[in-house]
């Protein structure tokens, strides 16, 4: 499954969801296809889900809210492990990704 625009691309490989580019969502509606993609991965009941953000250079607050909402969704499934992979080289990630751990303390945040 893949969502592709001029500015960003989101796709899945098994239960890992990859994000690439610069995502500036105008509203939560604009993020609906991404939420649908992530929800379908969750619905397949995997042992773990990985959000791989290492190539997502920019994410506006609507997009951060989308990640937060999905984190809360996964929190409702205690048997599913949520891993978020980011990089300290991209400033928004070191600033805002730790907030996801506040929402879901069992989330594994890998900044490498």
């Amino acid at each position: 499954m893949e969502i592709k625009t001029d500015d960003y691309r989101v796709w899945t490989e098994g239960s890992e969801i990859f994000f690439d580019g610069a995502m500036r969502l105008a509203s939560s509606d604009a993020g609906a296809p991404i939420t649908a993609l992530a929800t379908s991965v969750l619905a397949s009941n995997p042992a773990s889900i990985t959000l791989n953000l290492k190539d997502l250079h920019f994410l506006n607050s609507s997009g951060i809210n989308l990640l937060a909402k999905f984190t809360i969704e996964v929190r409702k499934h205690p048997d599913v492990r949520l891993v978020v992979r980011g990089t300290p080289d991209i400033p928004w990630q070191s600033k805002s990704l730790p907030n996801l751990k506040k929402l879901h303390p069992a989330l594994v945040l890998l900044m490498d």
């Binding site: 105008a26 939560s28 506006n60 609507s62 909402k69 809360i72 805002s96």
Partner: protein, 186 residues
């Protein structure tokens, strides 16, 4: 009548050398794309002086770009038809921004009641509470999350001044923001 929200001292001090960008509504047909191009341009311009250090440059450029993008996005989303004026300046400690646009009277009242909620308390606590509330009630929009993210994750100090606009049913809002530059590269 003039109404102020947020940190009063942020709302002054834009008198030093200021760079101005004016987004005209008519010829540009202002759209979402203008938020990105304008904020990237301003971030590139102000981060130039940090280019001797790659890490500082990346950090400053990103923080300025993020701040400007969020505030222009808000202006494009909520403004009454008309121009958006963006003014920016930087000294050794802070990057300062002022975004001015008109709002319809009703939108101005709604925005003021939102500001009453998000300008009192710890921004990080408020951010987490609002995310939880939005997730529990999908009908509620993500209102205020961008502003709270700026305050909690970027150390932004924000202020808003509402005053009568030239057109009678409109309110002019000036959004002021200041982010620390000296602490950015810690």
């Amino acid at each position: 009548m003039t109404t102020l929200f947020g940190t009063p001292d942020v709302a002054i001090g834009m008198k030093e050398s200021v760079s101005r960008v004016r987004l005209f509504d008519g010829p540009l047909d202002l759209s979402w794309r203008h938020c990105a191009t304008t904020s990237d341009f301003i971030a590139d311009l102000f981060a130039l002086r940090f280019r001797s250090s790659r890490n500082d440059y990346m950090e400053v450029r990103h923080s300025i770009g993020y701040l400007v993008n969020e505030l222009i996005e808000n202006a494009v989303k909520f403004r009454a038809p008309g121009e958006i004026l963006i003014e920016a300046s930087m000294d050794s400690e802070c990057f300062k921004l002022k975004v001015s646009n008109d709002l319809d009277g009703e939108d101005a009242s709604e925005f003021q009641s939102l500001l009453e909620d998000i300008t009192v308390g710890d921004p990080m606590d408020l951010l987490i509470q609002r995310i939880e509330a939005n997730a529990a009630n999908p009908d509620v929009g993500g209102s205020g999350l961008g502003l709270l993210t700026l305050m909690s994750d970027y150390g932004a100090r924000l202020a808003w001044i509402f005053s009568a606009a030239n057109e009678s049913d409109r309110i002019c809002v000036e959004t002021y923001a200041s982010i620390p530059i000296s602490q950015i590269h810690n």
